[in-house]
Symmetry: C2
DNA sequence: TCCTTTCCAGACCGTTCGGTCTGTTTGTAG
DNA sequence: CTACAAACAGACCGAACGGTCTGGAAAGGA
């Protein structure tokens, strides 16, 4: 093999992700990516058969990283043996990392979901995989915490409550955009943590 | 005055809103809007000086409608004299109208916020106005309900808890997109309602 | 009636888009 | 050293983009 194609491919993905998160997919031209990356069309269409193929690769990589931070949160909470403490430690992990989340100005999922054209079999399968990953892991934590803590009033279904975390994170991304500040992410994650804690 | 220009303008806004909510702003061309509306470029650029001016008009109209549904929710809850019942009635109003919210497949705010280029003085001022409108009205309901219902544990700030409603709605819009179903909107609003109710 | 102003249709323009193609460089295997 | 395939650079293409311009139709005031 000649020059290291993997490095160029990664660079193109890095630059593309930044630009797409800032301006959306349709508003980000291939030429902008190339100019920013200091690359050329030859390189781009060598690594990606089309702009849509770039979107597929972009989402696949993003989902992998996203499920990675989920795993990191689970790992951070794994020290706690008490189910309630474990759930709260899990949530605290993301509250603490809120500023790191919003350093990248927005979430790629939003850019993909906002354009129906981009929601083909490939992208929607990837996003669905991410959502289900979060749902199942968080719902399991919820169930254990609930079982350890009887309650007189009815509680939400753990799956729906787990989805609420995903929903709050995505919504908070949008509010950060509107506010022009990363602060709402932390505030909203903290509110979610407090609301969940009130069920325990 | 010649033919009724207002009707054409409204039609263009209606069609544009539908297409932008479906595919985003950048991916929606002026010609697509015209073809869908059965109109022409002459008409379009007579009513809007540029595509950006269309975005401004679109957001302005959407914010007005959005604050209208907020007012409708407040009106629906105004019958209750007890602050707690009033807050819950307010939230129930939106749970009940969840399917109506997601009939329009997505929220225009998302399409605007996802493209940084679109966030100029005009659009960001409109969106901020909407967010503050919801925050202040909902936070007021929260404060009254909290005051009527003492609590031993610390509660979230009413403003942050009010923002959480906006955040959940926007996030739920995205989840509806990912799921290809309007169902998550209702489920997530219900979860939010249950979480708030657990504080009372 | 006629004139004016608004409203609209559609041809047209320069630019930019995603994508193709040709040619050259670069690492590696034999 | 040679051959070959992967990796890239950049000119080029047709289509589509946002926007302009000219001409004509429709309504109201004089």
């Amino acid at each position: 093999m000649p020059r290291d194609g993997g490095a160029t491919r990664d660079l193109l993905l890095d630059v593309a992700e930044r630009l797409v998160e800032r301006n959306g997919f349709a508003a980000t031209s291939v030429e902008m990516i190339l100019s920013e990356a200091g690359s050329s069309k030859g390189a781009f269409f060598h690594h990606f058969s089309s702009k849509r193929a770039l979107a597929h690769a972009l989402v696949e990589r993003y989902v992998a990283a996203d499920l990675g931070t989920l795993a990191a949160g689970l790992e951070a909470a794994s020290g706690e043996s008490d189910p309630v403490a474990k759930l709260l430690a899990f949530l605290d992990y993301f509250v603490g990392r809120a500023s790191a989340l919003t350093s990248e100005s927005a979430c790629l999922y939003i850019a993909v979901l906002v354009e129906q054209d981009l929601l083909d079999d490939v992208t929607s399968a990837h996003v669905e995989r991410a959502i289900i990953g979060w749902r199942e892991a968080v719902a399991a934590l919820m169930r254990e915490a609930f079982a350890a803590m009887p309650w007189d009033r009815p509680r939400p279904e753990p799956e729906d409550l787990a989805d609420q975390l995903f929903v709050v994170i995505e919504g908070a991304f949008l509010m950060c955009r509107a506010a022009g500040s990363p602060e709402p992410m932390r505030a909203q994650l903290l509110v979610y943590r407090q609301l969940v804690a009130a069920l325990l």
